[in-house]
Structure formats: structure tokens, C-alpha cells
């Protein structure tokens, strides 16, 4: 074990160790296995676990997690029972404190369904492209299946993710509530540019108005450079057809843009020369600044990171060397660097990035940390290839105040107490 780590080389204050250390020297010693005493009169099975003593279950048509995990690794959902018939959001949050890696399981992907999840018959659903095009055209699922596809790993983040961190006081909430409107998946679909080219854009076409087949026909205006760039009509998520909560049978996906623009259940794309100024790009998803003005079409998701382990859902059991790990992401492209601090931002050390580092995708980082039993504040700070650097909460608030609701990307802080307890703090 790592108890004798007092002389390990430190790279920043309060116990941060070289990011390569786990690979080099800290291989955990093998735990000795005791052999149970079996006498001549006993069956050989004596002392063996019960699940080894009879054949196990048969396979399922559709696999599910262990029932032990089903009971504890779950999304946090709102609103409470009885409110679903109102105009309030219907939301599910990814439990990042219970997950690892960079791909979110489909059943744990976040959802925000402003008007509920429609039950769409894929044989009746059509996407119609119209407006400033040479020939209005429509596609059903079978027609789209004929096109060459693209597959990319992308994160998707609601601009309301971490909205709670604008508040004056730190929150006792777990990472699902503070960072769970974020997930990462492999998305497969048809480039939207292919379909727009087929319809034929007219001169002066600058926007598309995308609309879903949900009961609110949620609608967003998207700039043409995105529509003709990396936007796609997604059909598959992590290899299987989209789940209903992700837009089955088809959704628009705008990589790096705030999640609401990636219209689920998309049925209409109107090509125009101007935005429609829909409810969700005026009343909602606009960011109120201290001077009373609001940022509109703040579509890009900025560079951000958070430590997922340790977190306030765990306790450090004793002094020793721990892995500090988390996720970093940016709508601007690749993550280039993540630094970690154990002293509340006084000193920083580079974390190791898990490869491959992909653009517009979650990137996992790790660094070893020797906890000496004293108070500590763990933070992470991400950099991206566009040159953006994740700001301190104070710097973010100095620029944008505290009433923006959306696009909080400030540095997140875990306070570690002498008892090993962990709490969200502002530092």
C-alpha cells in the first residue's frame, strides 16, 4: 500500500504528486488470499460463495445492469410526483459521482424534456426541409438509412448545467444535481449538410429553424455555419437507436452547442435568412447580465472541468495516497491541459489526460494526491485548444454577475475536512 509515501516527490502544495507516479511506483501490493480449511468430510464447496454453487441466470433479450447497481446508480429526476402535468421542466441528471470513463451509459444520459417524451411511431415520422431551398424535401427513417453515416464521440451539455453554482452559498447537492446535465456518447447519423445540399440552399440562407415533434414543438434557430458544418441528424447513440428521451427516431445534434439547440424528435427544418426568435431563444436560454441586458444566442459551451472522485458522496477513510480524477470538456475543441490544486488554487500541478483526447468530448484526467490528514481544497482547471481557460468562480461572476442562470463554467471546489469528509465549498 501507499502508507510509506512520505518521501514521494510533490509537484504542488498540500500533497499533489507527479501524474506519472501511479504508473511508476505505486502499484498496489497483492492482497494475500487465505485458503479456507477444508476437512476430508466436507464437500469441496465449503466456504465458497453461494453464487458459485448452482448454475447462474440465463441471458436476457436486452441486458440490464446488476440489480444491486440498478438500486444505487440512478439518475436524479425532477419534478416531484404530481407536477409533471404543469409547464415545469421534466429533467433527469447523470450521476457523474457514480460513473467512470468518458462514455455515459444510454440509460443514464441526461434529459431535459420541456413538454415530455413523445411516443413516436418511426414508420410515420418524417423530417421536412423547406423554406429557402430549391426543392422542399422530406425523409423518413428508411430514406435516411440509405445515406453514408458519420460517427463521433461528443459531449452534450445543457446550458443550465451547474446553474446552482451561481447561488450565494455552496450546495450540499451531489454531482448529479450540480453537473449532471452533461453526458458523453458516441453519436451516429447523417451530416445535415448532405440533406441541405440535396434540398439546395437559396442565396441569402443564413439560419435554420429546427422544430421537434413533441407536444411543445420545441424550436430553435441555428446559424447556417453550424448547420452546414458539423451538425448531423443523429439516429444512433452508443451503437443503438436513439432512446425516446434522446429524440427517437431522429434528432438534430449540434456539437459543442448548448443542448437545447440539438432539437429532439426533429420533424421540420425551415431554411431562412433570420432567426425566428422562439420562446427557447428569448424567454429561456438567454443569460441576464448585471446591467439588465441579456446575452442571446450564447450557443457555444465553454471550457470546463470538475473532479468526480473524490466527491461529497464519499469519505476519505484514512491518510494516504488517492487518485484524484474527473472530466474536462469544451465546445471549442480538444482539451489541451488540466491542472489540479489541493490548496484552493495557490499552487497547481498538471494532471494526466486519458487518451485519445477527442474534440468536443469528455476527457478524463487523473493525478495522485497524498492526503496528510489536514484540511485541503481540491480544484481542477481546464484549458482548450482555442486558448480558453476555465475561470475562477470569482472572475466569472465579475464578468457576468450571478443572475445569468446559464453557462456556469467556473472552477469547482471540494473542501476536505480533517475527518475525511468532503463538501462543496467556494474558494
Amino acid at each position: 500500500m501507499a502508507n510509506d509515501a512520505q518521501d514521494l516527490p510533490r509537484v504542488a502544495g498540500n500533497g499533489l504528486l507527479d501524474r506519472r507516479l501511479f504508473m511508476r511506483t505505486l502499484a498496489l501490493g497483492a492482497v494475500g488470499t487465505a485458503t479456507a480449511g477444508v476437512s476430508l468430510a466436507d464437500p469441496v464447496s465449503k466456504g465458497q460463495p453461494e453464487w458459485m454453487l448452482a448454475p447462474g441466470a440465463t441471458t436476457e433479450d436486452y441486458g440490464t445492469p446488476s440489480h444491486y447497481e440498478m438500486a444505487r446508480t440512478r439518475r436524479w429526476t425532477v419534478p416531484p410526483a404530481g407536477q409533471t402535468a404543469t409547464g415545469r421542466s421534466i429533467v433527469a441528471f447523470t450521476p457523474h459521482h457514480q460513473l467512470h470513463g468518458t462514455l455515459t451509459p444510454n440509460g443514464l444520459h441526461f434529459e431535459v424534456n420541456h413538454h415530455g417524451i413523445p411516443d413516436i411511431d418511426p414508420d410515420q415520422h418524417e423530417l421536412i426541409i423547406h423554406g429557402m431551398v430549391r426543392q422542399p424535401i422530406k425523409f423518413n427513417v428508411a430514406a435516411l438509412a440509405n445515406y453514408p453515416t458519420e460517427t463521433h464521440n461528443y459531449f452534450l451539455e445543457c446550458s443550465g448545467n451547474s446553474g446552482r453554482l451561481w447561488a450565494d452559498k455552496p450546495t450540499p447537492a451531489n454531482l448529479d444535481i450540480t453537473h449532471g446535465l452533461l453526458s458523453g456518447s458516441e453519436w451516429t447519423g447523417v451530416p445535415l449538410a448532405t440533406l441541405l445540399d440535396e434540398a439546395g440552399l437559396q442565396p441569402g440562407a443564413k439560419w435554420i429553424i429546427a422544430e421537434g415533434a413533441d407536444s411543445g414543438s420545441v424550436s430553435r434557430s441555428v446559424p447556417m455555419d453550424k448547420a452546414m458544418g458539423d451538425a448531423m441528424i443523429a439516429l444512433y447513440q452508443n451503437g443503438e437507436r436513439l432512446r425516446p428521451g434522446q429524440g427517437y427516431p431522429m434528432r438534430l445534434f449540434n456539437p459543442g452547442f448548448e443542448g437545447n439547440t440539438s432539437i429532439k424528435w426533429v420533424r421540420s427544418i425551415r431554411v431562412t435568412d433570420r432567426p425566428a426568435m422562439t420562446r427557447f431563444e428569448t424567454r429561456t436560454y438567454t443569460d441576464l447580465m448585471p446591467d439588465g441586458k441579456a446575452l442571446q444566442f450564447s450557443l457555444g459551451m465553454d471550457v470546463k472541468s470538475v473532479i468526480t472522485r473524490p466527491s461529497n458522496s464519499t469519505v476519505l477513510p484514512k491518510k494516504g495516497v488517492y487518485e484524484v480524477t474527473g472530466i474536462a470538456w469544451s465546445g471549442n475543441g480538444r482539451i489541451t491541459r488540466v491542472e489540479v490544486s489541493a490548496d484552493g488554487g495557490v499552487t497547481w500541478a498538471d494532471a494526466a489526460l486519458q487518451g485519445p483526447v477527442l474534440p468536443i468530448m469528455l476527457t478524463r484526467f487523473r493525478i495522485p494526491w497524498q492526503w496528510d490528514g489536514g484540511p485541503a481544497v481540491l480544484q481542477s482547471r481546464a484549458y482548450d485548444e482555442a486558448g480558453r481557460i476555465q475561470p475562477s468562480r470569482a472572475d466569472l461572476i465579475a464578468a457576468r454577475g450571478t443572475h445569468g442562470n446559464y453557462h456556469f463554467n467556473g472552477i469547482h471546489s471540494w473542501g476536505v475536512g480533517e475527518d475525511g469528509g468532503i463538501a462543496h465549498v467556494y474558494a
Binding site: 409547464g87 424535401i137 425566428a276 439588465g292
Partner: protein, 183 residues
Amino acid sequence: MSTPKLLRFCVFLLAGIGMTTAGADNGFGTPATEEDIERVYLSIFPDGENLPDGSGTADEGKAVYEMYCTVCHGADGEGTLADKLVGGRGTLDSDSPDKTVGSYWPYATTVFNYIRRSMPYTAPMSLTNEEYYAITAFVLHKNDIISADKVLDRNSLPDVSMPNRDGFVNAYPDIPPEYDYMH
């Protein structure tokens, strides 16, 4: 000619034969009809493009609002189960900004369009265009934006002057420098 080029050439020839189908040479889309487009074209623009026929006033809208909207938004738009619709003027730069139709929404066409396409919450699009004009008029009147007898229709609705019409700053593609923490 290499095999891929030959293949592309053949596809080009075949597509040329089938030009009566829509769009580009190798596409699989089919032409959308006027009826198709009319069904899905719900967007209404600030200049009034695509507003439907019909009209309504706040006086007419009061009863409609009471029947379909009060249960979630309150009799006076004060908000109960769902959003507050009325009040909040002058609060956007305060410590407690209050974002309502009256204080925040920049376009009356957006108000009409959102109500028409998605309300009542449990039965969207179930009312007539006359009723949607009337409800919109009622909500705007409650916010002291129009008079109780003002007739809203495809011509007058775009001209309604919303208090926060100039309250928004375009942030695409970049956040304006004065709001960017890196400046």
C-alpha cells in the same frame, strides 16, 4: 478511370435519368408537398411572417384565459404551478430580477407563437386561432402593454411594442468582450 471514379460516374448517369425525384443527384429525399409544409411550418417571425388569420382582444380573452390558463398561471398571471406571466418591469438589473412576458419577452409574436403551438400544456394546439389571439391579448393587457379593446391580428400583433425589445445582446459567435471573463 479508377473504380471509385467510375462508380461515381455511373451514379451520376443514373441520377440524371431520375431527375424527376427531388434534390441532388444521389439523394434519397422525396418532394415535400404544400400540405406537408403547412402542417409543420408553425414558426412565426417578429415581422409577422406566417401569422394566421383571425383576431382577438383582451376583453374576449379573459374568459378563455380563465378556462385554460388560470389553473397553472393564476387568475392574474401571477404564476402558480407554472411561470409568472405578469409584472417584474424594471427589475432586470436589480438583485431580484423577475422575468415575465411583460418584463422580459422581446416580441409579441413569440408570445403568440409559443402559446399557439404548445398551450394549454395538456392539450396543445387545441384552441382556435381566434382564441389564441384573444389569450395573447389578455396576457399583454395584464402587463399594461395594450388596452383591453385592442384588436390583435396578423397586422397589429407585430407592431405591439414590448418593453424589453432592446434588452438582448447577440452573443454569436462570440460573447461580447465586456461580458467575457478572459478580457
